[in-house]
Amino acid sequence: MAYQTAFLALADPTRRQVFEQLRHGPKPVGVIAAQMPVSRPAVSQHLAVLKKAGLVADRPEGTRRVYYIDPHGLASIRIWLDQFWGDALTAFKSEVEKEGLDQ
């Protein structure tokens, strides 16, 4: 499911930082890596995961590739929220029922 890949991809704090850097516009790997405490190959790996999750896309620009936030990935946010509220209400219901048993 798309929401799972998107959610798992963004669950990693370093990867979220990589994603966050693209909020301000497309960037090549080198520029992203320069702002991060991790190596360039590590950044490339994070970008590959984000790309697979549909959250970022890339395109060639001269001799390098630039990465940008993939607008199509936003669909996974709605799917994720749908799942999230389902889980939250289920948890709410069990808490109410737990309380019922205590009394």
């Binding site: 909020r23 709605r78 929220l81 219901k93 808490e95």
Partner: protein
């Protein structure tokens, strides 16, 4: 104007309306899925300040806090509207307001139906497009929403 379908959920719980509202708001930490926190440290408390304009925020075990939004409408024990201000990339964004309306409908003395609607989700896309300066770009905002709508409906 393109809109994204709201997320709608409902659940019937074995508690009176008053108690259901209380547990949902004042004791949110007891049931909020702990895995869904934007904080780095484990979630300790989730607070909804009980008034219009009150903040909705999480407190982590290390004392750090992260705001989710604020209270738009406060009508205990029937209705609550919260602003969810987390962007599509899970950051608090004060410029972004999506609405979470929660209605508590008494079915009997010990049973309440809770209906939840998370709406204005298109604002996440608008805001993302705005941040990237893509609003007026050809194939920008409209294309994004069309794609979003198509995927969301799938």
């Amino acid at each position: 104007m393109i809109t994204i379908a709201p997320v709608r959920k409902q659940v019937t719980v074995g508690a009176g309306q008053q108690r259901a509202f209380e547990l949902f708001t004042n004791e949110m930490s007891r049931w909020w899925p702990a895995t869904h926190s934007t904080l780095k440290s484990p979630l300790k408390q989730y607070v909804v300040e009980p008034r219009v304009g009150g903040r909705w925020y999480a407190v982590a075990e290390d004392g750090s806090t992260g705001q989710t939004g604020y209270v738009i409408e406060w009508q205990p024990p029937q209705r609550l509207v919260l602003a969810w201000q987390l962007s599509a990339d899970w950051q608090f964004d004060p410029e972004l307001v999506t609405e979470v309306e929660v209605r508590f409908i008494a079915e009997s003395a010990g049973s309440t139906r809770v209906e939840l609607e998370h709406r204005n989700l298109q604002r996440m896309g608008e805001r993302a497009a705005q941040i990237r300066g893509m609003v007026d770009a050809p194939g920008g905002w409209t294309a994004i929403l069309e794609a979003f709508k198509k995927c969301a409906a799938a």
